[in-house]
Amino acid sequence: MKKMIANREIDVNQEGYLTDFTQWDKEIGKTLAAECEIDLTNRHWEVIDYIHDKYQKEEPLSIRGIKKSGVINVKEFYSLFPGGPLKKATLIAGIPKPKSCI
């Protein structure tokens, strides 16, 4: 399905996750963050960079991975993306919801 994000028509799934990462840019990220009531700071962007790096290497994301990332600790991760931090951070980063759950 299509959704208007930052005045552009973007392909998303039912849960609002981007289905085509090439459509993502920082503007899209900011708008999606605003929808989650998150104001993106430099710390947020560092986390998003880490998430993109993992995504490009096809390495699954997990709370454990965050713990070992050296980028952020889990407590701070929760405070930056309150609620479900992995779900929200991936949504904003324009990649699929993590499937650390099989």
Binding site: R64, Y78, G84, K99, C101, I102
Partner: protein
């Protein structure tokens, strides 16, 4: 002579030994299998042991019985894999050279990963049931437990057999009803997932069952620590759940051998090509079962389906042919729902658990995604199938390695 070495004689390793012994030319290949333990456990039985449904004798046998005589079987701890030298060092100093290595070292619980879990209350008020020792200790505890808050908890994904914690909750409901103390037991199911199971379609059906059995659900719970002094588990968002008896599935990790050998990922699982089962780092190392990092269930049924495909790929590898990209993540699980009933689910990488019939399209006799007594009988009969067919590598009639789409109502994974 060339050497094929299998590390681990659990479900997957034993199956591979049985498959390969008849396929590799004997005058050309020696097959060796190594495991530190003499006992082969029927791991699906650990679910039933705590409730006195199975006895200890029904879940363990001498491993040697299941290894073909022509296979060299070594009972010894493995020290290190040296992939650049194509060698495996054992703890007793033996060095095994290999042409092909199959890693089937499985997954273990790692309660030490969560603060407070592995402390003084471990096997007092905190138990696992993923090990023989844990399941047996829990059985002894349940025999005398008078009731209170029972919390069934999953620490983090992935875990071996993701449905087992739910089954445990369902069976606990039946067990306490039977004992006449269900009104004194409060059961809560706590999971890091956003629902009862990993697949949305099955989650709906299972959520309904949890409600029906008066089992509470706490979802999206990422445990930070166990406060064993105040009997509660606490997550990163500061949510607390009180317990009197905590039955947890600790973090699951692959064998430390893979970490020592530089072959594992964050959780000591070996990065593996998901359709061919070849390791990503070394072309003559293959992995099977729980030891892989595949995005498939860690379950005996998955290992079983993988074994048929891996056998063919090993033969192709030896012949210098291209590997078959055939493994589709097929899993097939009976979910025990208590009261002598079970659900059967069938799914793979790309398809959600489906409704329909199994294994015969339109006939059954097993019904997918619906509770029935026949499914429960299927689950009970499976113990016989396991010991007598599955680990011996005998093909189970009508059940194919890749998922059949006939007689099922499909919905693709989103």
């Amino acid at each position: 002579m060339r050497n094929l070495v299998i590390l681990g004689a659990g479900t997957a390793g034993t199956m591979m030994a049985n498959h390969l012994v008849g396929k590799l030319p004997k005058d050309d290949w020696t097959i060796t299998i190594v495991d530190q333990h003499k006992t082969h456990y029927y791991q699906p039985g650990f679910l039933f042991l705590p409730f006195d449904i199975y006895t200890t004798k029904q879940v363990k046998k001498n491993g040697k019985k299941f290894i073909p005589k022509k296979v060299n079987y070594i009972n010894e701890k493995i020290d290190l894999i040296l992939p650049e030298e194509n060698k495996v060092n054992l703890e007793n100093g033996t060095v095994l050279a290999y042409d092909i290595l199959i890693v089937a070292t499985g997954t273990n619980i790692a309660p030490e990963e969560i603060e407070g879990m592995d402390g003084p209350e471990w096997y007092q008020s905190i138990f696992d049931f993923y090990t023989y020792e844990g399941a047996k200790a829990l059985r002894n505890k349940l025999r005398e437990w008078k009731g209170g808050k029972l919390v069934v908890h999953i620490s983090e994904m992935p875990i071996k057999c993701p449905v087992a914690p739910l089954e445990f909750a369902f069976l606990a409901d039946s067990y306490f009803k039977h004992k006449g103390i269900r009104d004194k037991v409060d059961i809560t199911f706590v999971t890091p997932l956003d629902g009862a199971f990993t697949k949305p379609k099955a989650t709906q059906a299972l959520h309904h069952l949890l409600k029906e059995k008066n089992i509470k659900e706490v979802t999206n719970f990422n445990i930070e620590r166990v406060d064993y002094e105040h009997n509660k588990i606490i997550d990163y968002a500061d949510v607390e759940v009180d317990y009197d008896l905590l039955v947890t599935v600790p973090t699951n990790m692959g064998d430390a051998l893979l970490e020592r050998s530089g072959l594992g990922d964050d959780l000591n699982y070996i990065p593996t090509h998901k359709a061919t089962l070849q390791s990503k780092a070394h072309e003559n190392i293959f992995a099977i079962g729980d030891a892989t990092n595949l995005p498939a269930s860690k379950a005996g049924s998955v290992a079983h389906f993988e074994a048929e495909i891996l056998t063919e790929n090993i033969l192709r590898f030896i012949d210098g042919k291209e590997l078959k990209e055939e493994f589709d993540g097929h899993a097939n699980c009976f979910i025990e729902t208590g009261g002598g009933k079970a659900i059967l689910i069938d799914f793979n990488y790309t398809h959600e658990p489906v409704e329909g019939t199994f294994p015969f399209p339109g006939v059954g006799p097993l019904k997918l995604l619906q509770e029935s007594r026949t499914n429960h009988m299927g689950k009970m009969a499976f113990r016989w199938v396991y010991w007598n067919m599955l680990i011996k590598g005998i093909h189970i009639p009508f059940v194919s390695a890749t998922m059949s789409e006939k007689g099922k109502h499909f919905e693709a994974v989103q």
